[in-house]
């Protein structure tokens, strides 16, 4: 009701009674690009971050912290390879623990990029333009982090390639029935397409940077990376076609990757894993966490680099709505889990569900409900969606909540399954935490480098928005 009223009050541009509903109010609020920008100002502003701005002290400190954490990750990994995965708390029956939790979590985070880039591109959601580059980069880095965990968590990581179907003299193939093999395909395809899509989008901007930099070295590097882009009409024509095609290719991957990660669990007979609704549930969760992560990163970034004109409140508002929508799907998922556990009549399903809620790890379930269900409800309020601190806080909370969710699915389901004699609690070790925190360090290290070396916002796409917003004005 209030929403409708609010829509009405702001409805000044369109007096038609028939068009009165809220639809209009979505189109009109804060613009996707603050007015007053020209082609030149957009280019200057964004390329200056890379080309002319001094490396700020903040960047150095942030990078140093991230790099230190990344080194901790490397140290832990070296120790892991030397001694074996027993350094983690992983045990029997909890054969998968933090590494897989981290894997699923990072993969989820890596969802927003492609969704924003490809799906919203195909849907002509032009507000995506300011955030897609950044979101794609985030995707790549998150998928990189994610990809490390399944490798590291193997007992013998040095033979990881046995999971890939390559011709060999032994005539041995992977087991195509195993969802872990699907995972290999899904994640590697997703990573490949994401990197292509991201790089392709970068080419015109790389050419811009090549043209604008005064540093010979940068000219050479950017020039090589730009693949001789001259901006001719033929280039643009091919570019647009290829970009659309890639977008079309990437779109199903958004659904497939996390569906398959969901199937890793759904295929198992472990109570708490063995549910058909896992794949869509995982996808919704991934979008949820991906958008939350974009928000978590975008909010500080736009204020540090003064990008409020390009990443406007409209963007944040839209992302908050997506979070609210997917958060509600998550809530639906949690509720249906409870219901189906009861309705199935299966004692193991019932036990595992009750164990999640009331068991030794009950705190994580209630934490999850608070993080993923309760806090996003704030976004029903427009005022909250406009408040930067609230947006930032909730997005961080959602990220924590999604990590908890994966923890609940992976660890709590495993620690008490069919035979009570095998039940055992899981206790993470210092190395589990090091790898979790270290992977965050790795992620931020890459992100800091990206922000420093490449345009965080797509210059040429934003320039097209300048034209459109000018027209509107």
């Amino acid at each position: 009701m209030s929403r409708r009223k609010r829509g009405k009050s702001r409805d000044v541009t369109n007096p038609t009674v028939a068009d009165e509903p809220a639809l209009v109010s979505i189109r009109t609020p804060a613009p996707v690009l603050e007015p007053g920008h020209t082609f030149g100002s957009v280019t200057d502003k964004i390329s200056s971050i890379v080309l002319t701005r001094q490396t700020s002290r903040g960047w150095i400190v942030g990078f140093a912290i991230s790099f230190t954490l990344m080194m901790a990750f490397l140290y832990a990994t070296a120790y892991l390879l030397a001694r074996g995965i027993g350094i983690w708390g992983t045990t029997i029956p909890v054969g998968w623990a933090f590494p897989i939790v981290n894997f699923v979590w990072w993969i989820g985070i890596g969802h927003a990029g492609t969704l924003i880039s490809a799906v919203l591109l195909l849907l002509h959601q032009e507000w995506r333009t300011s955030i897609n580059r950044f979101a794609e980069a985030m995707t790549l880095f998150a998928v990189s982090c994610a990809g490390l965990f399944p490798l590291l968590h193997m007992g013998r990581p040095w033979v990881f390639y046995w999971m890939i179907p390559y011709p060999n003299t032994m005539d041995l193939w992977p087991n195509f029935r195993s969802p872990l093999v699907w995972d290999v395909f899904a994640v590697s395809t997703y990573f490949t397409v994401s990197i292509l899509f991201w790089y392709m989008g970068l080419i015109p901007d790389l050419a811009t940077l090549r043209d604008r930099t005064r540093n010979r070295f940068a000219q050479v590097v950017y020039g090589m990376m730009a693949f001789g882009w001259r901006g001719s009409a033929a280039h643009w024509q091919r570019y647009e076609v290829a970009y659309l095609l890639l977008a079309g290719l990437a779109t199903p991957l958004v659904v497939s990757v996390h569906s398959i990660v969901g199937m890793d669990f759904a295929t198992g007979i472990v109570p708490g894993w063995h549910t058909t609704f896992s794949p869509p549930f995982f996808v919704a969760g991934a979008i949820f966490s991906g958008f939350a992560m974009v928000m978590t990163l975008m909010i500080p970034l736009r204020s540090i680099y003064g990008l409020q004109d390009f990443v406007t409140m409209r963007h944040l508002d839209n992302m908050a709505k997506v979070i609210l929508a997917t958060g509600s799907m998550m809530f639906y998922g949690y509720a249906s889990e409870l219901f189906f556990a009861y309705y199935s009549g299966n004692q193991y399903e019932r036990y595992v569900t009750l164990n999640r809620v009331l068991g030794p790890y009950g705190w994580s379930y209630w934490g999850l409900i608070a993080c993923n269900v309760v806090f996003p409800q704030l976004f029903w309020s427009r005022r909250m969606r406009q408040s930067i601190p609230v947006l930032f806080m909730v997005s961080v909370i959602v990220n924590v909540g999604m990590w908890l969710e994966r923890f609940i699915i992976v660890v709590i389901s495993l620690h008490r399954d069919f035979l009570p004699s095998a039940w055992r609690n899981y206790h993470p070790t210092i190395w589990d935490y090091t790898h979790l925190v270290g992977s965050i360090g790795l992620f931020f290290t890459l992100l800091f480098l990206f922000v420093r070396l490449l345009p965080v916002i797509s210059i040429f796409e934003l320039r097209s928005l300048v034209h459109e917003t000018d027209e509107e004005a």
Binding site: G86, I92, P93, V270, D417, L419
Partner: protein, 1099 residues
């Protein structure tokens, strides 16, 4: 390397001769060294000039020492050591001889029966507490690798216990003592001979006065003969005996009843009603393997539907009174937890009720016993006279044993279920008396020379006796032992003892049957046997144990045709006709009713509770002799599932009242001696009673045993009682992490272990729901595997399984399963392929204990196979779920997806990190079964149904162009099981044992509803309760969760149903339990109502 050479050189120094350094020789040596064409090898001039051994060694090279070459032993030794020195010079391994030297070189002409890769089996025996179990040792090219029971031996019948299984690891134990030690320094056998001979000269001069020998229980006829002849020779010499897990009470009970020593053996196959008074006859007792077989055979009545009706009458019934939860109580139809001190009173009452003892004295029943219980027992025993059996435990005082003898006579069981034989022990004495006398004599300085043959008295004698102090008084102390242990440390001389598998000897079984113990391998560490040491004392240092043993048997068996009888005895593992002759002892028992029974002095602890402490041998490391055996240390104790530690076992109610949690450290004090020991809550432990097992708290053992657990011997009183009243127990507020392999003890309302009574079975043999027995095969996406000639399958009879753990160790030995250490067990990474799950049914006070062995069940629709990304676990056409270690990349998905959680993962290279693998301890690689791969880090492993044995049999069959016969393949767990609970074979062969067993209506699939179609199925547990005494009504025990504080889930797990309702009513009545504590207030109130109110005060 020098020690090595020295030991050779010293080996056969003439007795009494000491090394003299003669200056003349020095010059001669120079001359020789200079003149020699081929200069001898030496290391440095300093050593040459200073070391007396060097002179000695040089002397040996001269022709005048030609004795070296005429004596076959020393020539052998010499060649061996020279060869070994050269061979091992670069390896830096000293003191390690890999295998019998004659096999280092390939055969020029191979013996006819010798096929490389094909093991050979030799009969011998292992002993525990002096009593033998006949075994067959599997030997691969001279390396013993596995021990099996000897089917012809009466104490084995083909089975062994966990100790015998693990003794193969003790043989190769890298921490075994490897050299002679003199006052803490490495020495040589030669030096010892010198010292010992000099000592014996002194003792001989005094006709043996001041010479004492301390042994453990001895049944070996040869050893006894040696000792006796030594005593004949030296009239004043003394022989003392002490075994920490002593049978003093048994012997004293027999003397009380008969005035003479007799050995009692039981015929369980004839017993319909058995009453155990704190007797653990299923494990540890001499003959327990045999008893277990006979006892279980009388319970295996409902296996096949055909014979059910008439066989049901024959099922025996066991009543067990227990002072600490044990295997016998777990198997009992009616178990009664009772404080050990009350058993005597109970026995007196029972004897009176049975009319065995005339007594007018009115005796009140102990508070634990209800009148109904007593009536039921008395009724059953009386109606089954001549077919009943009463048996008392070693921990109970002599009077109880005497009363038991009287009751058995009263019930006319003698000659039927009870048999008396001439004593099996060589010289039955009251060992505590013997030890006390020794300590007194040592203290008064009357013992100058003490030879300790085996045993570890400094550690395992009662703390109050202060053996160590007295030992100091002895001038010349020699200790022969496997380890350099506490006693070795306190001795002047320590001689490494040869393992049972390394030396000739003999030993007698529980019924006297004698086995010649033959060595399987030359002593790995220059160990000497008891016989050799005694020969030294007798003045024949050159006499080999082989000669001693053979010489003795020549006198026993007669010289005619000796060679043939001897070979047959050695080959068979039994000397024919050596069973002890039956005795019909006279009855001398007079009623010795003491008025003070049941009112023994009870002092109170500050909490107002009279604590009782009960001691017992440890179920896995016995009296500490197996402390350094990693397999046994890591073996979960049958009831508690503890590993690597002992604990103070207390009952849930006591724990609840005093707010004691698991892992809390308690201080237990008695007469100023105290120990701090972590608490462990065990349902079925009598209230206000603490049970502690011996064997832990070793201060000088190897890398495995040192420091594990708490030494309960320290607390033991000088009278060496097995239980005592009036100890103080205090909480220290500290915690000590214990490692258990099973944290959860309730079935959570799931019908995992199907239990029924024989009455139920007779009424409706099909009482297990059809779904469980024959799970409908649901359709799957994947095609069904084609059927092959063989379909391997297994059935495990839960009525028969007594939970003795022998199969767990057998599996470990057969399949090269590593140990992982206490810390890793604590976080759940134990590697046992076969585990025995233990669940409780019924109330917390005296629950019914069920054992469920679970190993890979080889599902036909195996969930693990589906999810392995690299197809490292695949199905064979014969139905095996195979694990390809080389292909495994270690994703652990298979383990997650395994509903039975039987897969084990090599998380770390644990044995390597513990320094307990072939790299760090070369002997351990000799122990491995060459037919089984040793798995590396990062690889999943699990039960294979002993595929190496399957393939051996298949190859054999193929060569003879015939199908594999039933019974030809015996898995390691099946082979060792004394109760024959495990059946294995070809399911496609309808006449195979396993196929027949699987037709039983008791056969069911664990977790059948998952459609995994396990090839291993379980047979329901059938019990035979007295109709007058209601069995436990519930199918489950409330979980003990409140005690480990981390687990707090509580909810009615049984709302989900899955109750099998059959025509005869509930098999598994649904349980609903709630509340926040494991012991509900109603249970405590019930307890009060049952008359335990005095115990409950002061909470």
């Amino acid at each position: 390397m020098t020690d090595f050479l020295n030991s050779t050189d010293r080996l056969d120094m003439p007795a009494g001769e000491t090394v003299e350094v003669r200056p003349l020789d020095w010059e001669m040596l120079h001359r020789r060294l200079i003149d020699a064409d081929d200069p001898p090898i030496w290391r440095s001039l300093e050593e040459l000039s200073e070391s007396p051994e060097f002179f000695d060694s040089l002397h040996r090279e001269f022709p005048r020492q030609a004795s070296e070459w005429t004596d076959p032993t020393s020539r052998r030794q010499f060649l061996k050591l020279m060869g070994a020195s050269l061979g091992l010079a670069g390896l830096g391994i000293s003191g390690c001889i890999r295998q019998p030297e004659e096999k280092i070189v390939p055969y020029v002409r191979q013996p006819e029966d010798m096929v490389p890769g094909k093991p050979k089996y030799y009969a011998t025996c292992t002993t525990l507490g002096g009593f033998a179990t006949g075994v067959l040792v599997e030997s691969h090219l001279g390396r013993p690798t596995k021990i099996e029971g000897n089917p012809d031996h009466p104490a084995s019948l083909g089975a062994t216990d966990a100790f015998a299984q693990a003794s193969i690891l003790s043989l190769y134990d890298p921490d075994r003592s490897q050299t002679v030690m003199h006052s803490g320094r490495i020495s040589t056998w030669g030096e010892f001979l010198t010292a010992m001979t000099a000592q014996m000269v002194d003792r001989r001069r005094e006709n043996g006065s001041g010479l004492a020998i301390l042994t453990e229980t001895i049944t070996s006829p040869t050893l006894a003969n040696q000792l006796q002849s030594l005593r004949r020779d030296l009239a004043e010499a003394q022989w003392f005996q002490y075994e920490p897990i002593s049978r003093d009470n048994v012997r004293a009970g027999a003397r009380l009843a008969f005035g003479e020593d007799v050995t009692t053996v039981y015929n369980f196959e004839k017993a319909d009603i058995i009453l155990s008074l704190d007797a653990e006859f299923l494990v540890g007792m001499p003959g327990s393997l045999r008893y277990c077989r006979d006892f279980i055979d009388r319970r295996r009545v409902a296996e096949t539907s055909a014979s059910s009706a008439e066989s049901a009458n024959k099922m025996n019934r066991l009543y067990a009174v227990e002072s600490m939860p044990g295997l016998t109580g777990a198997q009992a139809d009616h178990r009664l937890p009772m404080r050990a001190g009350d058993v005597e009173l109970f026995t007196r009452i029972l004897a009176k009720e049975l009319g065995a003892v005339p007594s007018s004295q009115a005796l009140d029943l102990p508070s634990e016993v209800s009148r109904d219980w007593l009536d039921a027992v008395v009724d059953d025993l009386q109606t089954h006279a001549t077919r009943s059996l009463v048996i008392a435990g070693e921990g109970q005082p002599a009077i109880v044993h005497a009363l038991v003898h009287v009751m058995n006579r009263q019930l006319k069981n003698v000659g039927q279920t009870v048999e008396y034989l001439a004593p099996v022990e060589a010289e039955p004495v009251d060992q505590l008396q013997s030890l006390t006398t020794l300590v007194d004599q040592m203290r008064s300085g009357r013992v100058q020379t003490l030879i300790v043959l085996g045993g570890n008295p400094i550690y395992n004698t009662p703390g109050e006796l202060k053996f160590a102090e007295a030992y100091e008084q002895v001038k010349f102390r020699v200790h022969l032992s496997h380890e350099f242990d506490e006693t070795s440390f306190a001795s002047d001389w320590h001689i490494p003892k040869a393992h049972e598998l390394e030396c000739w000897s003999d030993a007698r079984a529980f019924d006297g049957t004698t086995t010649i113990q033959q060595p399987q391998i030359a002593p790995l560490y220059e160990g000497r046997s008891d016989h050799e040491l005694l020969s030294v004392m007798a003045g024949h240092p050159e006499q080999l144990a082989y000669q001693t043993v053979q010489h003795y048997w020549k006198t026993r068996l007669g010289a005619d045709d000796f060679e043939r009888t001897w070979r047959k005895a050695v080959h068979d593992g039994i000397v024919a006709g050596t069973r002890s002759e039956p005795r019909s002892p006279e009855w001398k028992f007079a009623d010795q009713t003491r008025p003070d029974v049941g009112t023994d002095s009870k002092s109170s602890s500050p909490l107002g509770i009279t604590w009782e402490i009960t001691f017992g041998p440890d179920p896995t490391i016995w009296d500490g002799r197996f402390a350094n055996n990693g397999w046994l240390q890591e073996l979960p104790k049958p009831i508690t599932k503890l590993t690597w530690d002992n604990a103070a076992l207390i009952s849930p109610r006591t724990a609840h009242r005093l707010s004691i949690n698991n892992h809390d450290v308690l201080e237990v004090e008695r007469n100023g001696r105290s120990i701090s020991v972590p608490a462990w809550i065990v349902p079925g432990q009598p209230d206000d009673s603490i049970a502690i097992s011996f064997g832990y708290g070793r201060s000088r053992s190897g890398r495995i045993g040192t420091g594990a657990g708490v030494n309960a011997f320290a607390l033991r009183a000088a009278e060496s009682a097995w239980f005592e009243s009036g100890v103080d127990v205090r909480q220290t507020g500290r915690k000590y992490p214990l490692s258990v392999t099973q944290n959860h003890h309730s079935m959570e309302g799931r019908d995992l272990v199907q239990v029924g009574t024989i009455a139920q079975f007779q009424q409706n043999p099909e009482f297990i729901s059809h779904d469980r027995r024959h799970p409908e095969e649901q359709s799957t996406l994947y095609p069904k595997a084609a059927t092959a000639e063989n379909a391997w399958g297994m059935a495990i009879d839960q009525t028969a399984c007594v939970g003795c753990n022998a199969c767990v160790v057998a599996c470990q030995a057969e399949n090269n399963i590593p140990i992982v250490g206490k810390e890793q067990v604590r976080i759940g990474r134990e590697m046992h392929w076969l585990r025995i799950d233990r669940y409780y049914r019924g109330g917390l006070e005296s629950p019914d204990t069920c054992f469920q062995p679970v190993m890979c069940v080889h599902c036909e629709n195996a969930p693990c196979e589906l999810v392995c990304p690299v197809a490292a676990t695949v199905h064979s056409h014969e139905g095996l779920n195979q694990m390809v270690y080389n292909r495994c990349v270690g994703t652990r998905y298979c383990s997650n997806n395994c509903p039975y959680k039987v897969r084990r993962f090599n998380f770390l290279d644990d044995t390597g990190e513990m320094g307990y693998d072939g790299d760090h301890a070369p002997t351990l690689s000799l122990m491995r079964n060459p037919d089984v791969t040793v798995r590396s880090r990062g690889v999943m492993e699990k039960c294979t149904y002993c595929i190496q044995r399957i393939n051996t049999a298949k190859i054999e069959a193929q060569m003879q162009n015939r199908p594999v016969k039933d019974g030809e393949i015996v898995t390691a767990c099946q082979q060792v099981c004394p109760a024959r609970a495990i059946t294995f074979g070809n399911l496609n062969d309808r006449r195979s044992d396993v196929a027949k067993v699987k037709t039983s209506p008791l056969n069911y699939s664990l977790l059948a509803e998952l459609n995994a179609l396990p090839r291993t199925t379980h047979l329901a547990r059938i019990r035979n309760p007295h109709p007058m005494l209601a069995g436990p009504a519930t199918n489950d025990t409330p979980s003990l969760e409140p005690f480990p504080p981390i687990d707090r889930v509580k909810f009615g797990a049984e709302e989900t149903g899955r109750v099998s309702l059959q025509s005869n009513g509930h098999v598994e009545a649904p349980t609903r339990f709630g509340g926040s504590a494991g012991v509900s207030s109603s249970q405590i109130q019930n307890a009060i109502a049952h008359g335990n109110s005095d115990r409950l005060e002061g909470s």
